[in-house]
Amino acid sequence: MTEQGNRAAGPDADLTRWSAAELGRAIGAGEVSAEEVTRAHLDRIAAVEARVHASLHVDGEGALAAARSVDSRRAAGQAVGPLGGVPVAVKDVLVTRGIPTTCGSRILENWLPPYDATVVERLRDAGLVMLGKTNMDEFAMGSSTEYSAFGPSYNPWDLSRIPGGSGGGSAAAVAGCEAPLAIGTDTGGSIRQPGAVTGTVGAKPTYGGTSRYGLIAFSSSLDTPGPVARTVEDAALLHAVIGGPDPRDSTSIPAPVPDVVAAARQGASGDLTGVRLGLVKEFAGEGAEPGVSAAVRDAIEALTKLGAEVVEVSCPHFRYALPAYYLIAPSECSSNLARFDGVRYGLRVGDDGTRSLEEVMSLTRDRGFGPEVKRRIMLGTYALSAGYYDAYYGQAQKVRTLISRDFAAAFAAADVLVAPTTPFVAFPFGARTSDPYQMYLADLYTIPSNLYGGPAISVPCGLSEGLPVGLQVMAPTMADDRMYRVAAALESTVGLFTPPEL
């Protein structure tokens, strides 16, 4: 059922099986045109999208035009860069000029943004070819894409199961070979958890290491755009393209991204001599399925065979991460989503001349937002209310500080921390929608990094019940290179994980 091998490394008749690095090299060398590569992916989308539903919008015309432009620049002798002409799918949370951007919500149906997100601009500047916009849980709130207003995406490993969320569309597109690369955003695990359950690589950069300008905010202090790919090197190449300071985002870090590509290549050599892996004591045995724990244990053992040493670290406040997250993220979201009121853009309901402004606003928000978004807006509105602020939002901010201290202490003893990405493999549709808390548990291991702001990556490490399991590697802020090195080393020893033919 799986072929653990070097699909990505070698030329294959099917261009959609190639890695981004290989495609970029071949396009640069003139062995294949960007247009051919784009057509191959558009054909693949046409063939499988009805079953996977990874996308909310496919921009075939725009993609082909962009591809031809890369080809003509190359023909004119201009350099097109390592990912020039390589297709990429973009999560629908990032605004794209003139291309529908819904954020998975009815409230933005038919909205055409007048500007590009910084990340999108950088993709275009680097010659990447944007295929379209990928599906997601509404406003990035969810772990399964079941909260997308436009229907879920399906996991290419098993179409009866979720592809993770909120960035399930990006992960499914990459796992299903509809795109070699995709952009996701990670607020509590929305890049990493879909990566884990689809057998793809998903990296959350250091907060502020990638620009949020043009990212429709869910939780401003947590949202982080990042790469989704099938190989660690591809993820690093994409990370290098989109990362770096942005004057339009005040919270972006005014320093270049560490050399993640070099780190990934160094890791691929398979030598981790002297690297200290920190195992978080408090994560042991907490909530993970036995098959997930076993795959992660095996992966760590494989890493020690490459020269890494294991140290146990204690992060006593991680147990408060989930509750703190579910105060901070909804609080910020309740404010961020206030602008969707039907006055200036997007959906407007009930404006028939008989209703007051307030009635039109509330009807619009009632019809426009789905249940999970409403739940979080209400949670956040409550948490920020006078008289409750200190007990909820204020307290959660203190927890955040304590969690950062836990990380700082842990990184004094270890170079990176390793843990499962998510406690369970891809679950069947409907299994966790009736109890929000069961859904929230999907982010149990990913949320601490978001609260701290440090980078973390999910890399496929094995299978459980025939479904992929991800190992999460967490690093200190602005040490994104470290996680790429460890992830690439693991990949070099366990190989890639390919879903069955669709």
Binding site: L94, V95, T101, C103, L108, W111, P113, P114, Y115, A117, R212, Y213, G214, L215, I216, A217, S219, S220, S221, P247, R248, D249, S250, T251, S331, E332, S334, S335, A338, R339, F340, D341, V343, R344, Y345, G353, L357, E358, M361, T381, L384, S385, A386, Y389, Y393
Partner: protein, 492 residues
């Protein structure tokens, strides 16, 4: 005794002022849009100030600098670290449905401004000076009142959205008694001079670049302070004074009748001079303030603050004192000029050739009276300092009497032209033609033989009767002094 003076005889007023100043920065607070006043609606906008999904604010350093300079000029402490906060409420003129403002960490705190009122110096404490973004402007169409109620359509202009706004909040000012309305006005007038001297805003109340909310409460002496009201829509110096008067009188009536004052927002009406109840604070929105996560904290470098402090211009009070000496005016005259907001007008009038005293008289007496009658600010009158100087020159040259000059000035204000043009068009020039005036004097002597005889007999005082007759016969266009000389020359 006015109603507010009567109120102050029984109750002690406590006032407080919140002044908003739109900064004159080239670009908006959080984006690069221009800030020119009066542009076509919705032409000075971008994704950021329209609050489009995905957009992010970036703080304008020039606005932060201007705020710190205002804080320093008001003797405030400058925070070494502070944050912006979101103030959450739904209103269509606010693109994000939250305003980026400052809450419990203002940039400047705890200062004061000394103001001159009635020959006394009153120290007004400054609670805080903070920076925020302005909202758009809503225009309600189809309703009778121009308010949202009853309107069929509401149009929003977002050109103003995101313009940097500094809020200057005083500490409560007790102990001013019946002078409270005048103190309120003097504070705003002198604050305006201060801000203008810093060159950070054009502080034009009529254009809304300086706006004012007035807090007022009354209490009996020896009792705790009363419940305060916040009066909004106070858009001129004159209105500041009137609004405090109106609230003092109203609250005194409520208290005298055994009632209690409700804590609420009230609206001031320029036309009637009354305040009416706005929304009650009890039902007011919970703004759910929290630190703005899209912006990094402000941490002004102490070295930079020191540089800004060293670069402050001399305070307006110092400059006013120099002008006062230069102009040879009394303390009270100078204060009246400052509190009328007329310093620049008088400077310009003097520069155009008038004497300081003449300039002061025209602006603070005749023109202030006309402005009051029209219900507008002095600066809003359609008369320039150059015209006032020209008018005074006509008086000095004997071409106009004081009385005629006032008539000419009314014509200038009414837009009929320059003083010379109005004088010519209305035929108001003093009759200085010796022959014509002599004939009028002869006629008056002939018509009043017994008066003429008394003057010949040495009763010179009786000449006034003949002068009056000549003035009547020339329609007031003769100079009384010249006429008197002619009369005496003929009879003595």
């Amino acid at each position: 005794m006015s109603a507010s003076t009567a109120a102050a005889a029984r109750y002690e007023p406590v006032i407080g002022l919140e002044v908003h100043v739109e900064l004159g920065t080239r670009t908006k607070m959080f984006c690069g849009c221009p800030t020119v006043f009066g542009a076509e609606p919705n032409t000075q906008v971008c994704p950021v100030c329209l609050g489009l999904p995905g957009s992010l604010p970036v703080a304008n350093k020039a606005a932060i600098e201007a705020t710190i300079r205002i804080g320093l000029a008001l003797n405030c402490q400058i925070a070494s670290w502070c944050r912006f906060a979101r103030k959450n409420y739904f209103y269509p003129d606010m693109p994000k449905n939250f305003q980026i403002s400052q809450y419990d960490e203002p940039l400047c705190t705890d200062g004061w401004l000394d103001i001159d009122v009635d020959g006394e110096v009153v120290r007004v404490g400054i609670e805080r000076v903070h920076l925020e973004e302005d909202t758009g402007k809503t225009l309600h169409v189809g309703g009778a009142t121009g308010r949202i109620h009853g309107a069929t359509e509401s149009l929003v202009d977002y050109n103003r959205a995101g313009i940097p706004l500094v809020e200057i909040v005083t500490k409560p000012v007790p102990g001013t008694g019946a002078l409270a309305p005048v103190v309120a006005r003097a504070y705003v007038a002198q604050l305006r001079e201060l801000v203008r001297s810093l060159g950070v805003s054009d502080v034009r109340m009529e254009q809304g670049s300086m706006r004012c909310d007035v807090n007022t409460s009354l209490h009996r002496p020896d009792e705790p302070w009363g419940t305060r009201t916040e009066t909004k829509n106070v858009n001129s110096l004159r209105s500041v004074e009137r609004a405090v008067r109106a609230e003092m009188a109203r609250q005194a009536r409520v208290l005298a009748a055994g009632g209690t004052v409700t804590q609420e927002t009230r609206h001031f009406h320029e036309d009637t001079g009354d305040t009416t109840s706005g929304r009650s604070k009890e039902t007011a929105t919970d703004y759910r303030y929290f630190p703005e996560p899209d912006l990094v904290p402000l941490a002004p470098d102490p070295q930079w603050v020191q540089t800004l402090r060293a670069g402050l211009p001399e305070p307006p009070r110092t400059r006013h004192r120099q002008l006062q000496v230069h102009w040879g005016l009394s303390d009270l005259d100078m204060q009246a000029i400052v509190n009328a907001g007329a310093v620049e007008l008088i400077e310009a009038t003097v520069a155009a050739g008038a004497t300081p005293d003449a300039a002061r008289k025209w602006w603070l007496q005749e023109l202030s009276r006309q402005a009051n009658e029209a219900g507008v600010e002095l600066t809003a009158l359609e008369v320039s300092p150059v015209s006032v100087a020209e008018l005074q020159r006509l008086v000095d040259d004997g071409k106009l009497t004081d009385k005629l000059a006032r008539t000419v000035l009314a014509g200038v204000v009414a837009g009929e032209g320059t003083p010379v043009e109005v004088m010519a068009a209305r035929g108001l020039e003093v009759v200085s033609d010796e022959a014509a005036l002599g004939a009028a004097v002869d006629a008056a002597i002939a018509a009043n033989p017994e008066v003429a005889q008394r003057i010949r007999d040495g009763k010179v005082a009786a000449a006034g009767v003949l002068v009056g007759a000549v003035l009547r016969s020339t329609g007031g266009q003769a100079d009384a002094k010249a006429v008197r000389e002619l009369v005496l020359a003929r009879l003595c």
